[in-house]
């Protein structure tokens, strides 16, 4: 495990482009057949995101945000097109390789936290650190997210925000390349939500981790470096934000 503080800091400006983007969606299709009707949850989706970016994927319900997230997280496959992460074509990965991908390279944060109710906060994070090669110290990560006092509490004893923070700690502790967040603030109130977003932003800045946030809340977008807007499974707009705003100052 690499001590948190010794992590190398990487400059993150959109001007510095690497030869290949860190995340690349290339004409990705995801089709669902319901009898005679075929629905394209993802319809020719193409976009890129750079390493160290905070990328927001926005859109109304049913736009395909979750589909994109699922594919990117290695939980689902696409029917057409290519998906590259860190240079590797993950859309071509076999089952076992996908599991490894999820294990070492991806951290997931869910809208409803999905903590194991039977385990304490510390144990929930340890669940993740046990399986990752280069994981961080669970205790320290929890302290980092401000839950030093709540290590031995069960999720039922934590507030929503605390639970989400445990969830984040769990994702971070794995020390992944990529952090995927599905409506991280969806179940939280305004204040707590902002705290969470700040945490995500700080992490991204300090560690250079790429963060992808799915949300239907447009108000969050100012803090992101890139905004991908989806509608009905298609990419509507892609906007690059030169000057991302600090999460504390976002209002909604």
């Amino acid at each position: 495990m690499i001590p948190f503080a010794a992590r190398v800091r990487m400059p993150i400006t959109h001007k510095e482009r690497v030869e290949m983007s860190f995340i690349e969606f290339e004409s990705v299709y995801k089709r669902y057949k319901m009898g005679e009707i075929t629905i394209n949850a993802a319809d020719n989706v193409s976009f890129q995101a750079e390493q160290g970016e905070i990328c927001a994927v926005v859109g109304p319900s049913g736009a395909g945000k979750t589909t994109v997230l699922n594919i990117l997280g290695g939980m689902d496959s696409c029917d057409d097109g290519k998906v590259r992460v860190g240079g590797e074509v993950i859309s071509g990965f076999k089952r076992k390789r996908l599991i490894e991908y999820r294990r070492y390279d991806v951290g997931f944060i869910f809208q409803f936290y999905n903590l194991i109710p039977n385990l304490t906060a510390l144990e929930n994070v340890e669940l993740a650190t046990q399986i990752s090669k280069k994981s961080l110290d669970a205790k320290k990560v929890l302290e980092r997210v401000g839950l030093a006092e709540r290590l031995n509490s069960f999720p039922a004893q934590l507030s929503g925000g605390e639970q989400q923070r445990v969830s984040i700690a769990r994702a971070l502790a794995k020390n992944p390349k990529l952090l995927l967040c599905d409506e991280p603030t969806g179940a939280l109130d305004y204040t707590t939500g902002k705290q969470i977003l700040k945490l995500l932003q700080d992490t991204s800045r300090e560690t250079g981790m790429t963060v992808l946030i799915i949300t239907h809340n447009q108000a969050i977008t100012p803090m992101a470096n890139r905004i991908v807007s989806l509608r009905s499974g298609r990419v509507f707009t892609i906007a690059v934000n030169d000057r991302p705003v600090s999460a504390e100052r976002i209002e909604w």
Binding site: I99, E123, L127
Partner: protein, 1152 residues
């Protein structure tokens, strides 16, 4: 229920079809086991009963030791409540096929019972008649019924003999100590058909007095084949007995009355018959003995004579050869000499002929020569003759001259007149003139003569010279002529000789031809003579062989006839001797071989069915409960909605109850059909290896069906109701909210920091998960424990039942004796005087004996009206040696007992059933009244009930000394030597020899008992196997179902860890570890529960007469665990598969 709700109900079935089917399956399983197993015992009884009734099986069989006469039959028929009688004759014999004796399966000669039957009845029955006088009806499996006395039908079972018998085979019956000639009209029978009879329902055929004591097979022959005028047995049916099941107590009691009444009339009937027999047989035997003695003397004399003759022939046959050889040699030598001589003569003749021919040739040559010279010769001869004449003349002259000379000399000398006279004579003879001399004087004459003398000498010498010459010439010529003559003579001689020779030769030729002819004749004669002699000798030798054989055959025939007569006489004598103790045996259906075994089998099934299925049942019910609970929990949102809409609790609950009950209905329907058909038939099929019954009846037993259905329906409905209740008490609003997952809680184990901190992370997770849902944990453990317990008790029951034989008869068992020998007459005269006992003791194969009095009586506890059981009173003749034959020890305390005079020893089961303890009292029913006995101890025992009493105590208690009628025997070590086949043969030989001894009625060797018992328990094994399968299926269903519930409940959690990147096997392990723990825990508890269940089952399943062993073998433990683990493993594998398929996306979907 509203229409919408009903529609929802139907759809929910479709939606949760797996769950619906699971409930059908588990209820079906529970019901089918419940009803099926409970039905098996009654079905088996019903089948047997129907078989017995359809075939009019007798209720009572009466056998008399002295046979039954026609009036005895009438007496029996007249007894109150007797419906019909069927008298029959039988004889037990050995069987020969193709000259070889048939052998039974224990290696001893097969004993077959030939029973008489009026086949007209059988034919009528086949055509549909129902004559009550036709009992124990035959069922023809092959062929036809006999038409004539030399035909028979044979037992269709093939188990009892190693020889196979086919239709068309001829068999010959051989009596064992009986003269079949006086019992049957023929002893050769052709098998024309094969039959089954309800008298023998298993391969056990019972005992017999013939052979080794074990009856192997039977044939039915026409009544006409029996010569005897009495019956051997009579079959009896009792009025109204058909109404009762053969194995029920009511039947036994119903029959008892008739049996007792028959026994009551037996005494008179027996003594009547005894008197008649004595009157008939005594004189017969006397006369018979006389006749026999006479006949025997006759036969012996004739045999001796014949044997002498045979010996002669044999002697000649042996020695004639040598003599013939000698004579032949001599004759041949003579012939050879004659031949040689003849050949020499021939040789000589040939030489002579050759020489003769040569001689002829020479002679002819010579003759030719001689003939040529003959004229010369003859001339020469003539000359010679002349010469000879000349010579002789000359000689004469010479002589005269000589005479002259001489006389002249004489004259000269003498000058006398005499001489002168001579001289003158001679001169004149010589031809000189003499006249002048006469005139001269003498002197002158002398002078003249002297002067002439010279002349005279000269003439003489000239003449002599001439003569000499002439003679020489003559001689020479004579030589020649002689030679020639000789030649001619030789020639003639030669001729003569040749002619001689020719004659001789022709004579010789004739002689030789004659001699040759004679020789040929002599040789032919010789050969002929020798051939004759040889032929005679061969004939003699051949005859010698057959002579002995023929003699032996005739001897055997003669002796056989004698032997048959002897047998008859001896048997007659035996009969007379037995008249005093003659009696009737009144036997019932339960005495039929195989019946007792069948009834034990039925009792076993009944006992098991009381326990096993119920247990099964409860597990099935528990699973239902869990399933329904889960279902209700899943649908709580719906529940809340319905409640909010205003549906009553009752309406909502009814949907779930209806769901559960409808599934149960299907399950019950399927379970009942399978249950009543499958289990009884499967179990019965196993038993049909030993039992010969028609196919099992499978009636639908309404009582059990209703009971089972009600029970399971009630359980399931209750489960559904309980599942709903909790939810329905909650507010609708709460229901509609996602159920908050159970809060995580500190597990009590965490408080033990010492242990908790040392546990690995994964262990901690597992522990937490386990304790999270205690209900699920409990049900899983319960299900596994139940399965293991069922398996263990099933295996254990198997061990216990099988263990009975081991524990009773095996090494270190209770019954230590090797055999029991039943005596035909009790030893009354004192043990020292008993001949039978002496015989037994002197047999080297028997090491030790103990005479025993054995009687079977009803006994029970001493309290009033207590239940009576059949127990055997055992009174050993000598209490000091009992321990070598029976182990009299208390099982629980280990106390070893000495049979004393202060009390009796009773066996454990008897004591348990009568609740008597040492110091207490028991009661024994005798014909004379009830006797109370004090109990001194309780001994370990597993089969039947026994009461051991010392002889002194017996006499005191029962008022009469014991009459020893049984001998326990321990065999010598030599009987245990060798291979299993050797031991079997030795045992069979011993049995046979003992049976042949006078005074012995039956022999039972313990090994035989073990074997026949082993067959019964062997089939029980198979029955247990069926249960094991059911238990395994149960375990599988429980585990599978609960696992599914488990996985479904934690879908979200499992999906999360999948997302986290857990490998498939790690995801499975997440669940798996809990399963392993629960399975192991379940097995542990199951073992404990199984032990108790087994004990309970054994105590309940024990049949009256047997005490099952209480131990479970280690192998059974191992198997129970192994099988449970096996099923758990399969479930884990299936679970792994379904986890792999678990979709993260679907599981994490949020209800938006």
């Amino acid at each position: 229920m509203s229409k919408a709700l009903f529609r929802e109900f139907l759809r929910s079935i479709r939606r949760t079809i797996k769950r619906y089917l699971a409930i059908i399956a588990i209820t079906g399983l529970g019901i089918s086991v419940f009803t099926g197993v409970r039905a098996t015992g009654p079905d088996m009884e019903a089948t047997a009963d129907r078989y017995f009734n359809d075939n009019n099986l007798m209720d009572i069989r009466v056998v008399s030791t002295i046979g039954l006469a026609g009036e005895d039959i009438d007496t029996i028929l007249a007894v109150d409540s007797v419906e019909a009688v069927m008298p029959s004759k039988f004889v037990d014999t050995f069987v020969e096929k193709d000259g070889a004796e048939a052998v039974g399966v224990e290696g001893a000669a097969l004993v077959c019972r030939a029973m008489s039957l009026d086949f007209g009845l059988a034919r009528e029955a086949s055509a549909g008649a129902d004559d009550s006088a036709y009992m124990n009806r035959l069922h023809l499996t092959e062929g036809r019924y006999p038409d004539k006395p030399g035909e028979c039908v044979l037992d269709s079972s093939e188990i009892n003999s190693t020889t196979t018998f086919e239709i068309g085979d001829k068999i010959k019956l051989k009596g064992d100590g009986e003269n079949l000639g006086s019992i049957l009209t023929t002893d050769v029978f052709t098998i024309v058909g094969k039959v089954e009879t309800p008298l023998f329902v298993s391969y056990e055929r019972g005992t017999t007095l013939a052979g080794g004591g074990k009856l192997g097979s039977f044939i039915y022959i026409p009544e006409g084949a029996f010569k005897t005028d009495y019956y051997s047995e009579v079959y009896v049916t009792v009025k109204g007995a058909d109404a009762f099941g053969t194995f029920t107590r009511e039947y036994t009691e119903h029959i008892k009355g008739a049996a007792d009444r028959i026994q009551a009339v037996s005494a008179d009937a027996v003594s009547r018959r005894a008197v008649l027999l004595a009157a008939e047989y005594t004189p017969k035997i006397e006369q018979g003995e006389k006749d026999y003695a006479a006949k025997k003397a006759e036969v012996d004399a004739a045999l001796a004579k014949a044997q002498e003759k045979v010996d002669q022939i044999i002697y000649y046959a042996k020695n004639g050869e040598a003599e013939l050889a000698k004579k032949t040699a001599e004759g041949q030598a003579m012939l050879d000499a004659a031949r040689a001589k003849l050949d020499a003569a021939k040789e000589e003749y040939n030489t002579g002929l050759a020489r003769y021919n040569e001689g002829i040739v020479q002679y002819n040559e010579g003759k030719a020569k001689a003939d040529a010279g003959r004229p010369q010769y003859e001339a020469a001869v003539a000359q010679l003759n002349e010469a000879a004449q000349d010579i002789s003349d000359a000689q004469e002259r010479i002589n005269r001259q000589q005479a002259l000379v001489d006389s002249a000399e004489n004259f000269v000398n003498s000058a006398d007149e005499a001489t002168l006279a001579t001289l003158i004579a001679n001169l004149s003879a010589a031809g000189y003139e003499t006249s002048f001399l006469e005139s001269l004087p003498l002197s002158e004459v002398k002078a003249v003569i002297s002067a002439s003398l010279v002349q005279y000498r000269r003439v003489l010498s000239n003449a002599q010279e001439k003569l000499a010459a002439g003679i020489a010439e003559y001689e020479a010529n004579k030589k020649k002529v002689d030679a020639a003559t000789a030649e001619y003579e030789r020639l003639d001689a030669a001729k003569a000789e040749l002619e001689n020779a020719k004659e001789r030769l022709s004579q010789a030729k004739i002689d030789i031809a004659l001699g040759e002819a004679q020789f040929q004749v002599k040789q032919a004669e010789f050969e002929f003579k020798i051939k004759d002699a040889q032929r005679d000798l061969n004939l003699a030798v051949a005859n010698a062989d057959t002579a002995q054989a023929e003699f032996d055959k005739k001897k055997a025939e003669a002796l056989a006839g004698l032997a048959a007569a002897r047998l008859d006489l001896d048997n007659g004598k035996k009969l007379l001797a037995s008249l005093d103790t003659a009696s009737w045996y009144v036997l019932k259906r339960s005495d039929l071989p195989g019946n007792a075994d069948y009834s034990i089998a039925v009792e076993n099934m009944d006992a098991i069915s009381g326990v096993f299925p119920v247990f099964f049942f409860f597990i099935a019910a528990a699973v239902c409960l869990t399933t329904m609970t889960r279902m209700v929990e899943e649908e709580r949102l719906q529940l809340g909605t319905l409640k909010a809409l205003g549906y009553t609790s009752r309406a909502i609950v009814s949907k779930y109850i209806f769901y559960a009950l409808s599934a149960t209905a299907f399950g019950a329907a399927e379970g009942l059909i399978l249950g009543f058909r499958l289990f009884p038939r499967a179990i019965f099929d196993v038993y049909s290896i030993i039992f010969n019954m028609p196919p099992i009846l499978l009636p639908f037993r309404i009582g059990d069906a209703v009971l089972g259905t009600l029970l399971i329906s009630a359980t399931v409905a209750a489960a559904a109701f309980l599942a709903c209740r909790k939810e329905l008490l909650t507010h609708p609003a709460q229901l509609m909210r996602v159920k908050s997952p159970k809060p995580g809680r500190k597990v009590w184990l965490e408080r033990i920091g010492f242990v908790w901190n040392r546990m690995s992370f994964t262990s901690k997770v597992t522990v937490r998960n386990l304790f999270r849902d205690k209900k699920r944990m409990a049900v899983t453990v319960f299900g596994i424990a139940g399965c293991t317990a069922l398996l263990l008790s099933a295996f254990g029951l198997n061990d216990s039942v099988g263990g009975v034989v081991e524990k009773q008869f095996g090494a270190g068992g209770v019954s230590l004796f090797d055999g029991q020998i039943a005596l035909s007459q009790p030893i009354d005269a004192g043990i020292e005087n008993s001949e039978v006992l002496g015989l037994l003791k002197s047999d080297v194969r028997i090491k030790q004996t103990l005479p025993v009095f054995y009687q079977s009586l009803d006994a029970g506890s001493a309290s009033e009206g207590s239940e009576r059981m059949n127990a055997g009173i055992v009174v050993p003749a000598d209490t000091s040696t009992v321990s070598a034959f029976m182990r009299l020890e208390n099982r629980k305390t280990g106390e070893k007992y000495q049979l004393g005079d202060d009390g009796v020893l009773v066996t454990e089961k008897f004591a348990a059933k009568t609740s008597v303890a040492p110091g207490g009292e028991i009661a024994v029913d005798t014909p004379a009244g009830t006797v109370k006995l004090k109990v001194a101890g309780i001994v370990e025992n597993y089969t039947f009930h026994y009461i051991y009493i010392s002889s002194a105590l017996y006499e005191k208690a029962f008022g009469a000394p014991p009459r020893y009628n049984l001998v326990m025997a321990n065999l010598a070590d030599s009987m245990n030597a060798g291979s299993a086949a050797d031991r079997k043969k030795a045992a069979a030989d011993l049995s046979r020899d003992l049976m042949n001894m006078d005074g012995i009625m039956a022999v039972t060797l313990t090994d035989q008992l073990i074997e026949s018992f082993g067959n019964i328990t062997g089939s029980l094994n198979d029955v247990v196997f069926i249960f094991i399968l059911a238990a395994g299926a149960l375990a599988f269903v429980v585990l599978y179902n609960l696992n599914n519930i488990n996985i479904n409940e934690r879908k979200r959690e499992l999906a999360t860890i999948k997302v986290l990147g857990f490998y498939d096997r790690e995801v499975s392990s997440y669940i798996y570890r809990e399963n392993v723990f629960l399975t192991l825990l379940g097995i542990a508890i199951g073992i404990a529960a199984g032990i108790f269940l087994h004990r309970y089952m054994v105590a309940v399943a024990e049949v009256n007469i047997v005490m099952f062993g209480r131990e479970i073998k280690p192998l059974s433990y191992a198997l129970a665990c192994a099988i449970t683990l096996f099923f758990a493993l399969i479930v884990n594998l299936l679970m792994h598969r379904s986890l792999k398929k678990l979709s993260m996306v679907e599981s994490l979907k949020v209800s938006e």
